[in-house]
């Protein structure tokens, strides 16, 4: 028997060619946090928790966290936090100070104030990297897929056929020439940076 600690900063489609300037700070943060534990990970803007949380479709932050004691099975969870600096600390207070397990949104924020945990302005959690990531994700969602040809419809796409038109999955500017057969277009694999949490 002996003590052990393991921590993670997220799993995802992390590109193998992640540049050093993005990889090294994360490795340094992991090394640093190995000594301190999960709360410190929340304070690092490189990871998707606390400062550095990804944004909702409204551009806001809604944080959530959970903690559990294996021996007693006592546990605490919180969701919908917008001003609490360390969500995990609030989850621990839910575990230790209430009869409940899970507090969310306004109730959780009110409990945070009641317990005097550190809170700050909502903007504290938002980073420029995540603003850019949200923009990418919204752009990725706006790209429509033509259900007839299974190709990505872009505004400047020229040709389509009746099926696309009927189902409305039609490129906006295209004109339908019913006399002309649609040439078999190779469906190009277009990779759209979708901003999703590829790096966990």
């Amino acid at each position: 028997m002996g003590w052990a600690i393991a921590l993670h900063g997220g799993a995802g489609d992390i590109p193998l060619n992640l540049p050093p300037e993005r990889r090294e700070p994360r490795e340094a943060a992991l090394r640093h946090c190995l000594d301190i534990g999960v709360r410190e990970l929340e304070n690092h803007p490189h990871f998707n928790a606390g400062k550095g949380s990804v944004l909702t479709s409204d551009g806001t932050v809604e944080m959530e966290a959970c903690i559990m004691d294996g021996r007693t099975k006592k546990c605490g969870a919180v969701s919908g936090l917008t001003t609490v600096v360390n969500a995990i600390s609030l989850a621990r207070l839910v575990m230790e100070k209430t009869l409940h397990i899970y507090l969310a949104f306004d109730g959780a924020e009110a409990f945070a104030r009641e317990q005097g945990v550190e809170t700050t302005d909502k903007s504290h959690f938002v980073t420029s990297e995540n603003i850019e990531r949200l923009k990418q994700a919204k752009e990725a969602n706006r790209v429509q897929v033509c259900i007839s040809h299974n190709h990505v419809i872009k505004d400047n796409h020229k040709r389509t056929d009746l099926a696309c038109y009927i189902f409305g999955k039609l490129c906006i500017n295209s004109k339908i020439d019913y006399t002309q057969p649609i040439p078999k277009e190779p469906t190009k694999e277009t990779t759209v940076a979708d901003g999703d949490s590829q790096i966990g």
């Binding site: 003590w3 606390g50 959970c66 903690i67 919180v78 999703d196």
Partner: protein, 130 residues
């Protein structure tokens, strides 16, 4: 998502997970992290913290399944975690870190990578991404 699991030298276990959720999520969306048994679970055998695509982790009850395989099938921590990540969660959606009451550590993932680190009392430590 960030998470941490720990065991002390009396075999007491704890886990904690925290996240901002999914980019561009609908306001009000809740993921696996605060759901006991999905993103976070601990009992007397092991402590688990999961990360990845929340909806997939919830459907597979990843964290609880690792503990259940140890509890009911007698799997080791490594076997249980490898089975859940390899068989129960769709490829490319999940990763986890876990420790057992005996001080074993495992860090499994079916995605391209997972930012992870661990250290044990006997001096072993590891930091890795892929």
């Amino acid at each position: 998502t960030v998470g941490c699991v720990a065991v002390d030298n009396q075999g007491n276990l704890a886990t904690a997970t925290s996240t901002g959720g999914l980019v561009n999520k609908m306001v009000g969306r809740i993921g696996d992290t605060p759901i006991i048994g999905a993103g976070t679970y601990a009992n007397s055998l092991c402590a688990v913290s999961a990360t990845g695509r929340g909806e997939s982790i919830m459907r597979a009850t990843v964290a609880r399944d690792v503990a259940a395989l140890m509890e009911y099938k007698g799997f080791s921590l490594e076997e249980a975690a490898a089975y859940v990540v390899g068989e129960c969660a769709p490829k490319g959606t999940a990763g986890l870190v876990a420790v057992s009451a005996k001080g074993e550590v495992t860090m499994q993932f079916n995605t391209t990578g997972m930012f992870r680190a661990c250290a044990t009392e006997d001096g072993y430590s590891e930091i890795a991404i892929w």
